[in-house]
Symmetry: D2
Subunit: 237 residues, 4 copies
């Protein structure tokens, strides 16, 4: 226990023990901490933040407010990270070329998760993606899944300038490198972890920090009961 | 079991058995059903409906959507019914005159729960309040708490035209008449029921019907992920 | 509004308006009320009741306790009703014989939802199933889906004595008769309602009554914090 | 952003920015990380873990399982940390002697939060408490609240051997030293933070790590639907 302080262990090491039931190398647990830090913040406008704020303004306690926001996390909000890891893993393990992978997805009518951004472009990449890639190139023994994701990005950028590898795709592919490169998991264990969707856990934990912060904000500001503007419903729905 | 169909039992009778552990007279269980029907509907703008809609639009399942909305129910949204029953009971049982009750609350800085409406006035009462009062006057053996609430309203209306007895106050006071008039509860049992806040249960159950309806609406309309307008945050907060 | 009392409307009529956006015939709304009444009760041992009880014993409010129990409702607890309606509808609409339906499911490795009971047998049927069937035969203009479910049961009973049509199967098939027989829904509307899973809403609403009751029980009994027995974990897991 | 990696920032620094809206010294954010690490783990028997496990075994998704467990956190499970900080702050700021504080609480019929343990004794202290105290003595500019808590413990230990300062009391008192000693908060800001209950946020975040771990365990082990043993209800309730 005292080694926690003396040896500079962090939150990632506790996650390693409680989720993976083994002590992963520090570069792995540090990588998970960086993912948490990068995903913690978000504006007050996303679904989760909005629900948390509305619940806090109804005078409810911290747990109710947090939970009301967490419940929005799923296929459309946060779900892309796990999907990215699943599809990239499947494509790479099958030896598909980026062309085969992307065009195969297109035929099935599925957007490639982890690719595409509303604002970012090929010549204006997401700083967070670059940070993660730099960290992994420096510390990971192998970044083969990430390199594959970059090749996929090269292909998609040739089709449209906003089809960049986004933060979901970067985390999704690098998590595969973490699992495979650490040599601490068997192939079936890796399949299980990707199948269950451990990255959703990282996202949920990260966003909890931001959602708790939103709750405290509302309580400090003593905000009254929220009521959605009536006109918005009349015109939007 | 078959008596449920043959004898025309309703949802209120099941509530009676599972919450009160006894079979209340039909006028009592009918009264609870009317309360549920009157509280089920609400526009899409209230806190609970909004959260449920946002969660459903995030692609989450029915339970997550419903629950995200239910979590807003508390002191500011739905809580007035129980508070009305507690304060009216306390004032009536102590024999306070409406003047003593209202002015005493004022001194403590507490608004009288169950009194006041944003739109309704003394000459334009809430139809639902009148309906409940008519039902109770016809079927209840005693409506002493309701009559007391009406006397309180007479006093508050003399101070301001919008200080009418609202639906929360009507349900709160009539529920006291239900408990006392049925002669099926001891005094300590009544105190316990009012203390625990059984009326919150009726409100939660009623609103669940509406919230489930909102979830189905969003799924039918295939609404996309909600994002709160950014300008709203800039100007309002 | 006043017609609610005068014309003997019930909770089912409010559900009809808020979920289906139309006023269904009284036999339809009465059927939904009976389903709610039959599903409201359950022992304290099922997943939902247990979670609600544990949360109430942690001293949490009614909404948190209820919600903690509702969150267990899903594929394994409550989900069979919707699945039964989907599979029975698909099989009947495709004109499959009971033999083709049951054996086809078997080949796909899927248990027929709505068939099978831990205790009930062909010569000791569930009273609730019989009650629903009698109600429908008396009031529904057509019970073709129910009759199909009975034919399926006849076939499955020839294979094993406990493969009876259970309450999930009865509600699932009769709900199809309600939708088709009322002649108030188009075919695409029926597909949508069955696809979205409206029956889950009925189950959730019904169980809420029981879960709220469990919360009140714990608060009345002033139960302390729950702690799962340590030996149970050691031996079971 | 890139400073996150280069300068060795951790999860505590992100919490500092999102909850406190300022960049606290590294020893403060490190202290919060240690609290998270110390509170993350817990056996599968506590209320939260049990609910999460039951929900995961009902086949529900990660968020539903986590949330079902979080909802048990409140007055009886996790609430002692905030209460300890509130009572210790009040007593210290009023200049009460340990005797006056403890006996005053006794008169009001309130157990001193943060004092007492089921197993630990004066001669067998909780290692985690010692670790936190050592860290604070080394890094905090002032530990006046902690020293006060130790004096209180000395007095309570003179009354009974198990009335030790527990982990809740240690975190609660040291958090006061963090707020006051960092000289980055005004007195009203500190009152607000203690009033709102920021420590509950730390506890919720910490336990989320453990609860997510329990969910993954159940999914890996492919556990079936939980059903509470019937005998337990018959005998215990």
């Amino acid at each position: 226990m005292s080694s926690i302080v003396e040896q500079g262990y962090g939150v990632g090491d506790v996650i390693s023990l409680l989720w993976f039931k083994r002590s992963l190398p520090r570069y792995c647990t540090h990588f998970m901490e960086i993912c948490i830090m990068l995903c913690a913040d978000h504006g007050p406008c996303v679904s989760g933040a909005h629900n948390t704020i509305v619940t806090a303004r109804a005078g409810k306690d911290l747990v109710s407010s947090l939970v009301s926001g967490l419940l929005t996390i799923g296929p459309r909000f946060g779900g892309a990270i796990d999907d990215a890891s699943r599809y990239f893993k499947d494509a790479y393990d099958k030896g598909l070329t980026p062309y085969e992978f992307v065009e195969g997805m297109k035929k099935k009518g599925i957007r490639v998760p982890g690719i595409g951004h509303r604002i970012k472009r090929g010549d204006n990449r997401d700083k967070r993606v670059e940070l993660l890639q730099r960290f992994a190139r420096t510390h990971f023994p192998s970044v083969k899944y990430m390199e594959y994701a970059v090749l996929v990005e090269t292909y998609t950028l040739s089709k449209a300038n906003n089809l960049v590898l986004n933060i979901d795709g970067a985390i999704g592919s690098l998590f595969l490198d973490l699992l495979a490169g650490s040599r601490m998991f068997t192939k079936p264990e890796i399949d299980e972890i990707v199948g269950i969707g451990y990255l959703n856990g990282l996202f949920v934990l990260a966003r909890s920090i931001g959602l708790i912060g939103h709750t405290f904000d509302q309580k400090r500001l003593k905000q009254p009961l929220y009521r959605h503007p009536w006109e918005d419903v009349l015109y939007t729905k």
